[in-house]
């Protein structure tokens, strides 16, 4: 059980712990207010003499590799989630650690997935002390019901890089699943039977961890080209039969939503970009792989063609729909953070204009800039948004963990941030008085697009002016909220949250933005 925690009120008015898993925390003090000092962390110096001249770092199995890297109680071990729900390597690693007999590990995945729910048993047995990384499904419930010994820490993709480079999280051993690797440890995600596209989420782990183990099911002779992960950072290479289930790593064909309401939202978003003058030659945008986002890209593609407009770059999560843009000459580049379907994997493997990126280039807030703020428009989802445009993406309205933050917080830096959401789900209004868990400050959220109308943040007078004369249903957010509450039969009751923190939501600069509170089972 977590120790008694001191709480402080942060600049967003949220009550947050001042100590998390034994480490002092800085409560959020506002967008762009926190000024970090000091130097980045670095891994220990190594010497070529300790590695074979042949470059062959193969070790018979993962257990041996973990032993060789000195795995012991209380260490931090990490994985990436590019294999999504198809990943087999994280559990392989955790089970090997259990066999070795170590206790109290901190597991630090870039995200966890429902197929990894047997990590719960390993927490019960004491092998894992706690998880820092997104949790949903059974793992999320385990955390929100207060059963995890330490506190969950939710970070954005950029925030995870920031935490590693700033030394907030020190990774002892990183285990990197690699769809292709050579015996030296160079690795890549774009080829092999378990191909997943970019391996960007593993890059920080490979650069900053004390020890790095690459696990592959497609070992090739040196060199593995391309090499997004460099063997010079790698201690050991383990060859296994299979790193994951290809059917769950990438989807075959991503399907656009057929829900008329969602299609309407997607069309509104595309028309908004056109009417606001954002869709113009040389522009850039990012949209995820959800149903609305895919449909949005398809609508935008048609409008770009009609108006003869071409983008300079688009940001992935990439799917067939972004690949279509590239192939039809509607964008010069795809800068890709993760690769969702077969068409996209094929494209990133074969088209030099489809470029893998990492959270360092795309999202890291403690760097000399990042791509996030250079994107003209981004289309995101949310569980809730409040009348001040604050967004929640991590918890259900009842406080249970639902999603990781992903790149969501980082994307808020875009020129125009759009939340594309239905106005209610199963009678539960999406626009509320106050979000359950603050994940994104309202000052960074510009537009909320629902099937009943589009609300523009009053702070964005420029956008309000830009769409004057547009036929789109632009409405005050309060107005949409009132209509939905009428339909739903009144305001929903606010669920009672516990008073014990079970996880924190970090802001992109490492300060604590909000708390996830215990919810009864």
């Amino acid at each position: 059980m977590p120790e008694r925690v001191e709480l402080a009120q942060n600049a967003a008015g949220r009550s947050v712990p001042t100590m998390v898993n034994g480490k002092p925390q800085i409560p959020y003090i506002g967008v762009g207010k926190y000024q970090p000092r000091g130097r980045k962390q670095a891994p220990p110096i190594r010497s070529n003499k300790d590695y074979p001249d042949s470059g062959d770092k193969r070790v018979p199995d993962l257990e041996t590799a973990l032993r060789n890297c000195g795995l012991h109680d209380g260490m931090v071990i990490s994985n990436h989630h590019h294999l999504r729900d198809g990943d087999r390597v994280a559990l392989m690693m955790l089970e090997a650690a259990a066999r070795i007999g170590v206790k109290d590990l901190m597991w630090f995945p870039s995200a966890s997935f429902p197929s990894q729910q047997s990590a719960i048993a390993l927490m019960e047995r004491g092998v894992i002390h706690h998880i820092e990384g997104s949790m949903n499904g059974p793992l999320g419930d385990y955390c929100t019901q207060g059963k995890m010994r330490g506190m969950g820490v939710l970070r954005s993709h950029g925030g995870r890089w920031q935490a590693i480079q700033d030394g907030e999280v020190h990774i002892d051993i990183a285990v990197i699943a690699a769809p292709t690797a050579d015996t030296f440890g160079d690795a890549d995600g774009s080829h092999g039977k378990s191909a997943c596209g970019s391996l960007g989420f593993a890059l920080a782990d490979s650069m900053y961890a004390d020890h790095v183990i690459v696990v592959t099911d497609n070992l090739v002779p040196f060199p593995c080209i391309p090499w997004q992960i460099q063997g010079n950072n790698v201690d050991a290479v383990v060859e296994v039969e299979s790193i994951g289930d290809p059917a769950k790593i990438v989807s075959g064909t991503t399907q656009i939503t057929r829900s008329p309401d969602r299609l309407r939202i997607a069309e509104f978003v595309a028309r908004f970009l056109r009417d606001a003058g954002i869709m113009k030659n040389g522009f850039s945008f990012q949209a995820g792989a959800g149903g609305i986002a895919l449909a949005f890209v398809d609508y935008l593609r048609r409008m770009m063609k009609e108006d003869g407009v071409k983008a300079r770059f688009v940001r992935g999560g990439s799917t067939k729909y972004l690949v279509d843009l590239l192939q039809e000459g509607l964008t010069d580049y795809i800068l890709d953070g993760q690769t969702f379907d077969l068409d996209a994997v094929k494209s990133i493997a074969g088209d030099p204009r489809h470029v893998p990126t990492s959270p360092f280039t795309s999202y890291n807030y403690h760097g000399k800039g990042s791509f996030a703020s250079m994107v003209d428009a981004v289309v995101l989802g949310a569980t809730e948004v409040d009348v001040n445009f604050n967004g929640n993406v991590v918890t259900h309205s009842d406080g249970r963990l639902l999603h990781g933050i992903g790149g969501w917080q980082n994307c808020l830096a875009a020129g125009c941030t759009i939340l594309a959401v239905p106005s209610f789900r199963d009678r539960i209004p999406v626009i509320v008085d106050e979000v359950t868990t603050l994940t994104g400050p309202g000052e960074l959220i510009d537009v909320v697009v629902t099937e009943r109308g589009i609300a523009i943040n009053p702070l964005r007078k420029d956008l309000l002016d830009a769409v004057k004369g547009s036929k789109l249903p632009i409405r005050p957010i309060q107005d949409i909220k009132a209509e939905v509450e009428r339909i739903c039969g009144g305001k929903p009751t606010r669920p009672k949250l516990g008073d014990r923190p079970v996880a924190v939501v970090k802001w992109v600069d490492g300060t604590v933005l909000d708390t996830v509170w215990q919810v009864s089972a």
């Binding site: 309407r264 789900r425 339909i487 009751t493």
Partner: protein, 403 residues
């Protein structure tokens, strides 16, 4: 217990399950005493659990149900659906006879004009509440709450009550509110339930003789008088057989409330024993005959639905042909068909421009007291002027011309 003497029994209504949305399931087990014992399972319990329990209790009390075990399994149903399902379950249990549980009423839209635009009418199965609330957002000229073919025989009673509550509680915006009833005698029960909620138009299925229309018209007149409705409720007979087509003209003339004729091609081709094709040659006679009968009486002719939701090009082609034959609209079964249909039934800009010139010339001639309308060196015949006036009026209604 109920005074009507009907047998009281355990009963249920509605639906639940992983794939069900916006509906709920109610199981009622009447008992001799002990009051109401209500249990609730709901995916929205943390937000609306108390509200659903209160509504359930009040609804049952309002229906005169005093003693029963009631299990509610909710999948995020809106209040007007909740009361409909409870009422249905209670009636199936032999309780609440002659009682209604009516939700709050939204303001009725303006009465619908006889000759309003009817390019698209979106079919909504009367037993699928999840489609109702957002249907009008997609901008069809009309929605049809269907009690006939899309409703399973065992669900007719439930759909009737749900559609009644929907007419009362859902704001359909600028859409004309249509209901497709069942054939008589079932259709009479439909009318008794829905007419007090003043639908704008009733679609009568499988009409073969004018007497069918006249009979329904009489019933509606009577039910309107009984519930004090004094706005029009128009009729649109659906001709779905060879016989119906042959009687098109008398059917159209059967009541002054008939505003349009439409055709049901699935049943018609089945009746003819022919295959329905993408081109529709097999129904050309029936469709043109229907158009002619409708126009002869100054009514609208409305085409059938196009069943392949994925084939928008096919739909566009069908719609353009249909307009060329004289139809003024067609049915749709998915919102994605609406913009395609609207485009197909909208005159081209060139047609509108030409018609506007003719209308301007006509107005100019009238002002100057000239009997002959001419445009440039050409004399314009009166029927051409009439067609241009109609076209410009329609284009105005479609928002294609600034008035």
């Amino acid at each position: 217990m109920p005074s009507t003497g009907t047998k009281v029994r355990a009963a249920e209504a509605g639906h639940y399950g992983k794939d069900i949305r916006s509906d709920l399931h109610v199981a009622i087990e009447p008992r001799e005493g002990g009051g109401l014992e209500i249990t609730l399972e709901s995916r929205v319990a943390p937000y609306y659990g108390n509200s659903i329990l209160t509504q359930t209790r009040q609804t049952l009390e309002g229906l005169g149900v005093k003693h029963a075990r009631v299990a509610v399994h909710d999948e995020g149903a809106l209040p007007f659906v909740i009361s409909a399902r409870i009422e249905t379950a209670a009636k199936r249990a032999g309780l609440a006879s002659g009682q209604k549980s009516l939700p709050d009423k939204v303001v009725l839209p303006e009465p619908s004009a006889r000759d309003r635009l009817r390019r698209s009418r979106l079919y909504l199965p009367g037993s699928e509440p999840k489609y109702f609330i957002n249907a009008s957002l997609h901008g069809p000229d009309a929605i049809i709450l269907d009690l006939e073919d899309s409703v399973h025989h065992g669900e007719k009673d439930a759909a009737r009550i749900l559609v009644r509550n929907t007419l009362r509680a859902v704001d359909f915006g600028a859409c004309e509110r249509m209901v497709r009833i069942n054939q008589l005698p079932l259709g009479l029960e439909d009318l008794v339930e829905i007419i007090p909620e003043a639908p704008d138009l009733v679609l009568i299925p499988k009409v073969e003789r004018p007497e069918q229309v006249a009979e329904i018209d009489r019933m509606i007149v009577e039910l309107k008088a009984r519930s004090g409705i004094n706005r029009p409720i128009w009729l649109m007979p659906i001709l779905e057989s060879a016989l119906g087509i042959e009687y098109a003209m008398p059917i159209a003339a059967a009541s002054p409330n008939v505003v349009a004729l439409t055709i049901g091609l699935e049943d018609y081709t089945a009746d003819m024993g022919v295959v329905k094709t993408r081109e529709g040659g097999e129904s050309l006679y029936a469709r043109t005959r229907l158009v002619n009968a409708a126009k002869a009486l100054g009514l609208q002719a409305i085409d059938s639905v196009f069943g392949d939701v994925g084939d928008l090009d096919g739909l566009r082609h069908w719609g353009e042909n249909s307009r060329a034959l004289g139809f003024e609209g067609m049915g749709c079964i998915h919102p994605s068909q609406i913009p395609v249909i609207h485009e197909a039934f909208t005159p081209s800009q060139a047609e509108i421009d030409k018609a506007q010139k003719i209308v301007a010339a006509f107005e100019d001639a009238q002002q100057r007291g000239l009997g002959v309308v001419s445009l440039g060196s050409k004399m314009i015949d009166p029927p051409v002027v009439q067609r241009a006036l109609k076209l410009v009026a329609r284009a105005k209604a479609m928002g294609k011309v600034n008035s």
